[in-house]
């Protein structure tokens, strides 16, 4: 976070920005600082960021905190309720649920960001080109988008993964590929607005190539909608990958992945609800956290 700036004298910040090496980059970083400050003041964003930060730190550092090996059969007593020895109880194989819940953040927070990255990268490319050039390719691309959106995401994923076989790579690829046209649509509509602006015409007159205009001139000006789209997609990616794990089409045993754990544990629901309850609560907080970030970001950028 940046050092707190005197909010009552915004002129001074602008002056400082203009005096720096490049006027343009000074203005840009001034805008970025403004956005960061607004985010810091947004309660929605800060709470969401705190929750997500907790799970990200947990996904990286869980080996330091877990009392037991999350995949080890550590207790002869299976399906035990929470106790002093096993804070969240033990599962059907005698594994420690507390350790598994902590360790379960890592698979989710690996799959979802990677899938989002693929979808966003692909979507930016497709969106920039279709929005910039329009024409027949644009029409065809948008029809394909409509066709893809005619299925609920989970049905496409079930269809493709059942045929390719369940694996982490397939889950990442399918979610990433399905996200591509959705992101492309957002990027495209932003590009359609930007390409009418004077700076694009000016860049053309200067003799810049189309690629330069697309990536160096237009792209930096549409980072706002892209940032919002990334956070929204991340939420959906977590949602979808967890659902696929639950349907036994994603990450496989003995991973402590939350969706998978719930899928296995639901058989023992009647006798030991803690096996499903804790991973479900963990997943719920993570997803709500990501959505709070998305919401805060959207509010701030739309102001």
């Amino acid at each position: 976070m940046p050092a707190p700036l005197p909010a009552e004298r915004p002129g001074e910040i602008l002056d400082a920005g203009l005096k720096s090496a490049s006027e343009l980059s000074g203005l840009a970083s001034g805008r970025a600082r403004e956005v960061l400050r607004a985010l810091w003041r947004s309660k929605t964003f800060v709470i969401g960021a705190a929750i997500v930060l907790f799970w990200v730190l947990d996904a990286i550092f869980w080996p330091l905190f877990v009392p037991y090996d999350p995949e080890g059969l550590v207790s002869p007593a299976t399906l035990q309720p929470p106790s002093a020895e096993h804070l969240f109880g033990t599962d059907d194989l005698g594994r420690d649920i507390f350790s598994r819940t902590l360790a379960g953040a890592r698979p989710t927070l690996t799959v979802a960001p990677l899938a989002t990255a693929i979808g966003v990268a692909g979507g930016i490319l497709v969106g920039l080109f279709t929005g910039f050039y329009r024409g027949l390719a644009d029409d065809i691309a948008m029809r394909v988008v409509d066709a893809l959106l005619a299925f609920p995401l989970i049905i496409i994923a079930v269809l493709v993964i059942s045929i390719l076989g369940p694996s982490i790579t397939n889950v990442i690829l399918v979610i990433g590929i399905v996200f591509t046209p959705i992101v492309a649509r957002t990027v495209r509509s932003a590009v359609l607005v930007e390409r009418q602006r004077e700076y694009v015409a000016a860049a053309r007159l200067l003799g810049n190539s189309d690629l330069y205009i697309m990536f160096v001139e237009i792209l930096p000006n549409i980072t706002g909608p892209i940032a919002v789209e990334i956070t929204i997609r991340l939420g959906y990616a977590i949602f979808t990958s967890a659902t696929l794990s639950f349907l036994a089409l994603g990450i496989q045993q003995p991973s402590p992945d939350w969706g998978l754990t719930i899928s296995i544990g639901r058989v023992f629901l009647q006798t030991a609800p803690s096996e499903v309850l804790f991973p479900a609560a963990a997943l719920a907080t993570l997803i709500v956290g990501v959505n709070l970030i998305a919401d805060g970001l959207r509010q701030v950028l739309e102001e």
Binding site: D146, T243, R266, N291
Partner: protein, 314 residues
């Protein structure tokens, strides 16, 4: 207006055509060898070839596609690989069960969410608005199996009020609630978020409009202003959202029907996918897409019929 609808209808057919091509490619081309995909890695080459020939998958791609699509349109959807029964009979049976579950969820949640959405708008910026908005947002975000598991733990395990797995209900209305209430709760949560948000936005917009201000300044009672002027106009966009979200329901059904062991179309999609029952899978997914398109189209028609601006402009 009829021109607008005709255009929408043509677009829907073009999209469905694209859908059928994508679906065919995914189900028939992506596995590489259909016979091998069904028989598994331990079958001999001869067995695989024989099955390929029997299924007709050794013929050219274009011919297979046109045969399949032609058959689908005539209602001849082929036979299930596993159940050896006509796919159409199975699919419509399951669809009927899903319509009961989905219809039940919609019937309960639509009035509730509109009510809460309007309540939030009338208390714009105050605590009821904050609570309803935050709750709605969180409920949209949660996967159906997470909320489903939570209600299962609370109502089926801890309290023991309702069964943990559901059947198609009998005609007895009490049985409807007993069988359908739990599996429809995860669906209702997601729908609540979307519908209440639309109802809220629509109401806020019409509250700010000139005609509502005129009505208030004219001295009409608050109740009349809200019922006669605000609600009529604010519920238009909500109708569109309801029909689009009905399409979502089909995806949500895959998860809830699996979780509650309910024999609907969502579970059929999942089961046929996992068991590589390709005729069932292809037909049910295309059926889902047709249904979704029809609902979106219905939304457009309703919107045009109810909105005088669109109706008169065209």
């Amino acid at each position: 207006m009829s021109r607008f609808l005709a255009k929408r209808l043509v677009l829907a057919f073009v999209t469905l055509f694209c859908v059928s091509i994508i679906l065919f490619l995914v189900a028939q081309v992506m596995p590489g060898d259909v016979g091998r995909a069904i028989l598994g890695p331990y079958a001999t080459e001869v067995q695989v070839r024989a099955l390929d020939h029997q299924l007709g998958v050794d013929r050219p791609l274009l011919e297979r596609y046109s045969t399949w699509l032609g058959g689908f349109m005539r209602g001849d959807w082929g036979n299930s690989f596993l159940l050896h029964r006509p796919v159409a009979a199975i699919a419509f049976d399951r669809l009927y069960n899903s319509l009961i579950l989905g219809g039940f969820a919609l019937l309960l949640i639509v009035p509730t969410s509109i009510g809460f959405g309007v309540l939030a708008a009338l208390n714009y910026g105050k605590w009821p608005d904050r609570v309803i908005s935050v709750a709605g947002l969180s409920l949209i975000a949660l996967p159906e199996f997470v909320t489903g598991i939570m209600v299962l733990v609370i109502f089926a395990v801890e309290l023991g009020w309702l069964p943990a797995s559901s059947h198609v209900p009998s005609v007895n209305p009490l049985d409807w609630f007993r069988q359908l209430l739990l599996p429809s709760i995860p669906l209702m949560f997601v729908l609540f978020g979307y519908i209440s948000r639309m109802a809220r936005t629509g109401t806020i917009e019409s509250l700010r409009s000139n005609y509502v201000r005129t009505a208030i300044l004219k001295g009409l009672p608050r109740r009349t202003v809200i019922w006669q002027h605000v609600l009529r106009n604010s519920l238009l966009p909500t109708i569109t959202v309801i029909s689009v979200q009905t399409g979502y329901l089909v995806g949500g059904l895959v998860v809830t029907e699996t979780l509650f062991n309910y024999p609907g179309i969502g579970k059929l999609v999942l089961d046929s996918a996992v068991q590589h029952d390709l005729p069932v899978l292809q037909a049910t997914v295309l059926l889902v897409a047709v249904l979704y398109m029809a609902l979106t189209l219905l939304a457009d028609v309703l919107y045009t019929l109810l909105n005088p601006r669109v109706r008169l402009a065209a």
